[in-house]
Amino acid sequence: MYIYINSIDYNRSISDGPGIRTVVYVQGCTLHCEGCHNKSTWDTNCGPKYDIVELAYELKEKSLNHKITISGGEPLFQKEAVISLIKELEGCDLCLYTSNNFDEVPKEILPYLHYLKVGKYKQELRCTTIPYIGSRNQKFIDLTTEY
């Protein structure tokens, strides 16, 4: 199976979940939120195409602490591929950033995730003082303690 990726930022992020995290920006989003920080991910028909098994291998190789956040775009726009990638990354400290609400996130991936960020970005609720979220309506959930 293949997945379209916008870019990968290795071992650098401090704002996409606890620790120093590698962030995978998955290509494609149809929400087009005002104030989006990553408009280059909107296009649903472009970006490098990765074999999922190979991508998972590369991520495990290059991410020093195996702390990986899957962000976007809207990762669940390529739902099947992302589910497959998450399963391939079993054993890593995984976080998923989605604009969906908690109920809309496929239940089968929850056991693989450590953290989950849910909720659409709303520019009018923009917030820079609460960790790991962009607007006040969003929620950052530690799945090991909260669910």
Binding site: N11, R12, G19, I20, L64
Partner: protein
Amino acid sequence: MGETYENASDRKSYVGTIFNKGSDLTKKEILDSLPKEWSDLHTKGYIYIHDLNAYGTTYNCLNFSILNKFPFDELNQYNDTLKILEIFGHFRNIIAKMANEQSGGMGFANFDEDISTIFDKLHIEHSEKNMELLSASILSFIRWINGVHERCGLTSYYVTLNLGLSTNTLGQKVTEYVLTSFRMAGPKVFKPNIVFKVKEGINLKKSDPNYYLLELALATTCEKMIPTYVLCDCESNKKYNPKNLSVMGCRTRVVQNIFGEPTGIGRGNIANITINLPRIALDINAAYPSVETEQKISLFLEKWKEIAATAVNILLDRYKKLISMDKIYFPTNMAFDLWTGGFLAAASLEEIFRNGTQALGFIGLSETIEILIGSPYYETTFGTELALKIVREMRAYTNNLINIYNLNFSLLATAGEQISGSLPEKDCKYYDHPVLKKGFYTNSFHVNVDSGLTPFEKIEKEGPFHTLCNGGCISYVEFSSAPISNTEALYELICHGINCGIHYLGFNFPIDVCNKCGEKGIFDICDSCGSKDITRIRRVSGYLEILDYFTSGKKNEVKNRKSNN
């Protein structure tokens, strides 16, 4: 703001103006009195003699031996309330007086443990009321250090509180109060420098008794960039008793002592001369444009040794003058025995100041390698090896000086607050080179501030230099914004730092504060209230200050800073 400042902590005042006039005249007199060959090196920018106005009349910095002659008897006659108030009164008194007796920073090596010892010796009860007063006194002490600009009428006291190792209940409380007070005091309280000492078995692992204090320290750093961290288990520190390690001023590290046990307590730097490495490289490039790289490096090191030899003569001359001073110029040192060696009983000042260290510093290693081989050192394995070879040679040279002169010498990784801008400015008069365009030289061995390396990579690249620079150094990880609540990230980098040989680690990020509503963030217009009245707080040479007061070199550096995340 049109005014210029020699240090970011300076402010203008009538007394300060008079001090500066006297200081400038003294510097000129001293330079005129030195052999021309020596003063030329300074005026032409090959070397920088730090604290020139104190040449031969005082030393640089000191970690107080605060317990030596603490006035226990005097305070023991009071009740607990007065005792606690007077402990901090004594600290303030010492800081203010010592600022008149020495030219540089002051350190408390074990602020937590020392206060608990003082409480014990004064038989102060650990009652709720006394703990409340202790906590309030600590906050008041912090606010005082942050607020005063009375030293020489123009600047603040450069105080460093080292803590984190005391495992007795009161020592732990002191660390907790310092961190909590500092954190709650708001963004505009950004002094003193607080250094948390990290040590496995005490505070590094979850099962360690002070792990909760490390967590508190990390949470504080996430908001305020302070504390910074001395890593007691790193290669260069692990053989020492962690209680004897400490940092004073922006980075000074004093440990080995040929006259006594290895410790930083009761000891300091006597003087420091920084050698302008890029200038030597520019000279060599111009004089030998077509030689092979290897030969260029040999020529570079040869010229460095030539300049270092003169710098050492200057340090020795300065030291000789210092030890021939009359003790009466050091009344506070005498009264409270703040140096090791017994100030009052000592037959001469030599018996005291020989415990201090003479430091040879360097600036702009990154530019130097770029001048010599065409790219910054960290970009290639060859460059990295070359950079390490140069620093190894410098360290071997300072080590050798110890045997030759029977004095403590060390290699210091200079931050160069003022010279980061003034040295390239001087070099521009003689040369035109791309490294001169950005208006500052990079701090000691640091990778370029816009390197784009990840935090892990930066630590890996800079770690080996920490093992070599025994006179002090620091590495910073630069974040684009405050790592809100991400203590886990800082903890990972601390662990990585220990493994990579990092002795002293700090975290930088921009803090903008709205003067109208107090909101913090990164903005030109406040996110909350829309005000344009913003104070920008940044780190400069180890301490935090308001950006408007930065020197030109450091202002240029801030413009170039690119985060590692």
